[in-house]
């Protein structure tokens, strides 16, 4: 069904940058940071492939550590559509033969990467949280599995060795203007396919819970939709956003864009305040890496208290408004 490469001459690490609406996604810089570390260990080049329309500041990728940026510039790449992207990336990889290919585990990356891997007849490790090089110079890909209950170390016996990497798992590469600008423009190998066409793109509102530094999250302890206003107020005082457990999405009280957890968003804010959330494993999977976790729950045996740094056993309907009032008071004093 696919040919695959022989494992001999491939060299170098290729990061596939992601952009949407002309803006480079920050996961690309994180990949370059980790890629740099791996490239130095193996004494290999670190390059970057960017597909997109006109006017993307591709040199940014050089500043962040890519030696060569290959910029496949064409308006067909302005819409994110896997089939056309895949055809072009596969042709590029077959020509350049990198040994390692890294892609961000964003929605688009996760949808695109398996197609590329399958076309190249190679393996792909999804959602990696760490990457290492072993004694034989092969890539060890570390990823959570079984709904985050375990970590698997995975090797790929073919080339290229491919992985998608979770967003916000690694720090961004530092921007260094001394790095040489080195952009090579590449013509697309294939133009748009007739098999799949994008009819419409509707910008989602700016609400992106994964970018919030503070999240005040509500669960089934919230009895009515209107009561979420209580959490909104606290979030406002703290400059944060309101998140929810799946229970509230299922109950039609909140949008799924606000859902935190295994089937929602994975978040890593500075502070996560869980209000009336029991702490089911699927919820924890989305927030346990927050820097500080605060929990308010009326049930002292709720599992959320196991992972909270600070917990309060009590009725959130009393605790939260009082907390907000107190913070406002302190604000006023200052």
């Amino acid at each position: 069904m696919c040919k695959g490469m022989d494992n001999k001459k491939q060299r170098g690490i290729l990061v596939i940058a992601e952009q949407s609406n002309g803006e480079i996604h920050k996961v690309s810089y994180e990949l370059l940071n980790k890629g740099r570390e791996l490239a130095e260990q193996r004494n290999m080049p670190l390059d970057c492939l960017l597909l997109g329309g006109d006017g993307i500041p591709a040199e940014e990728l050089n500043y962040r550590g890519a030696q060569t940026v290959y910029y496949m510039k064409d308006s067909i790449f302005s819409t994110l559509e896997e089939y056309t992207y895949k055809k072009n990336i596969v042709a590029f990889i077959e020509e350049k033969e990198p040994e390692i290919v890294l892609i961000g585990a964003t929605n688009f990356g996760r949808s695109l990467a398996p197609r590329i891997a399958a076309a190249l007849c190679t393996g792909l490790t999804a959602d990696c949280t760490d990457l290492q090089i072993n004694d034989e110079g092969r890539l060890i890909q570390i990823r959570p599995a079984f709904s985050d209950h375990l970590f698997a170390h995975i090797k790929t016996v073919k080339n290229p060795q491919m992985a998608t990497v979770r967003y916000k798992e690694f720090a961004e590469a530092k921007r260094d203007l001394k790095n040489l600008e080195n952009i090579i423009f590449v013509k697309p190998y294939f133009k748009q396919t007739s098999k799949s066409t994008v009819d419409e793109m509707i910008a989602l509102d700016d609400f992106d819970i994964t970018e919030a530094e503070v999240i005040v999250a509500g669960g089934r302890g919230i009895r009515r939709k209107e009561d979420l206003a209580m959490l909104e107020e606290l979030a406002k005082v703290l400059g944060g956003k309101v998140g929810v457990s799946r229970a509230l999405v299922d109950a039609g009280m909140a949008e799924s864009s606000a859902q935190v957890g295994y089937s929602g968003n994975r978040v890593k804010p500075k502070v996560y305040i869980a209000c009336g959330i029991s702490g089911a494993p699927q919820h924890l999977a989305g927030m346990k890496d927050s820097q500080v976790i605060i929990a308010v729950n009326s049930d002292p045996s709720a599992p959320i208290f196991q992972i909270a740094d600070y917990g309060y056993v009590g009725d959130l309907y009393e605790v939260i408004p009082q907390f907000t009032r107190q913070l406002r008071k302190e604000d006023a004093v200052k």
């Binding site: 069904m1 696919c2 992601e18 952009q19 949407s20 609406n21 996604h25 089939y83 895949k86 964003t106 929605n107 688009f108 996760r110 949808s111 695109l112 398996p114 197609r115 891997a117 399958a118 076309a119 007849c121 190679t122 393996g123 999804a126 959602d127 599995a145 079984f146 709904s147 375990l150 970590f151 698997a152 995975i154 090797k155 790929t156 007739s194 098999k195 799949s196 066409t197 994008v198 009819d199 419409e200 509707i202 989602l204 703290l238 295994y262 089937s263 500075k270 502070v271 494993p281 820097q291 605060i294 196991q306 909270a308 740094d309 600070y310 917990g311 309060y312 107190q326 913070l327 604000d331």
Partner: protein, 267 residues
């Protein structure tokens, strides 16, 4: 219109136990069930059947051990028309690449599917890769994170993708096509008693490696055909946080929380 739903049998995540010392999953500790996300895919297919009274046949396919037949019967009870089980010792140890190849080979062999549905991810494998890889091996277009099938006619499907690059996207694909769905696409219904009883007597089609002769080789399947190898499993120890849980003393709680908020530069 022939719709195929790919379903996987997974252990019940609420009950399954992990052996931290040995680094293994004790699959006998929990009963197997249909992957929760695949229930949404199946319901979405059944909804199409009920909608507009289209002449739709829903087939479910799973690759797994013989006992996974139960999952196909369960799917029948939930409204599917037919079940296909891919089972063979030689399929054991498949990674996503080998799994997808085997599924694709069986799909080619049976032929004649217009739309293929799969779940967002499986809760055990957890890769969300199998669907797109199947699409690639069949050389058909796909879309992931689909929250709605807007329109399905004899030669195309129009879907809404929840979020791709910060946009909601409406896309039309020529059939055959594959879509991976999110939980928001449907509300899985419980099977009726009648269907449940009937499901016990239906014929499940079984496909082995031999049956796929001409569509895939032995080298391409199972452990041999898997380019990725698990070299180690780690089961993290439960982190016991040095945490403070307050009960009566609200003032002390507030103080601690305000301190940490200040430390983090938030207030």
């Amino acid at each position: 219109m022939n719709i195929l739903v790919l379903v996987k049998e997974v252990p019940d995540m609420e009950k399954v136990k992990f052996d931290q010392e040995k680094g293994v999953v004790d699959r006998s500790s929990a009963e197997a069930e249909i992957n929760p996300f695949d229930e949404n895919a199946l319901q979405a297919a059944v909804d199409q059947k009920e909608k507009e009274q289209k002449n739709v046949t829903v087939t479910v396919m799973t690759m797994g051990p013989q006992r996974a037949e139960k999952t196909l019967r369960d799917a029948y009870a939930r409204g599917a028309d037919k079940g296909v089980l891919l089972t063979d010792r030689k399929f054991g140890g498949s990674d996503t690449c080998a799994t997808a190849k085997t599924l694709a080979a069986a799909i080619r062999k049976i032929g004649n599917f217009d739309l293929i549905l799969c779940g967002e991810k499986s809760v055990d494998g957890d890769t969300a890769q199998v669907g797109a890889e199947v699409a690639e091996f069949l050389d058909i277009p796909h879309a992931y994170y689909v929250e709605e099938i807007r329109n399905l006619d004899h030669d195309s499907v129009q879907v809404t993708i929840e979020n791709i690059g910060g946009d909601r996207q409406v896309r039309t694909m020529k059939l055959p096509a594959l879509i991976g769905v999110t939980k928001n696409i449907s509300r899985p219904k419980l099977p009726t008693v009648n269907r449940k009883l009937e499901s016990l007597t239906i014929q499940v089609e079984t496909i082995t490696l031999q049956d796929l002769n001409g569509f895939m080789s032995e080298e391409e399947c199972g452990f041999k055909g898997s380019p990725t190898k698990v070299s180690k499993i780690e089961i993290p120890k439960e982190v016991k946080k040095n945490n403070q849980v307050f009960r009566e003393d609200f003032t002390a709680f507030l103080q601690s929380v305000t301190d940490v908020l200040t430390e983090k530069g938030i207030v």
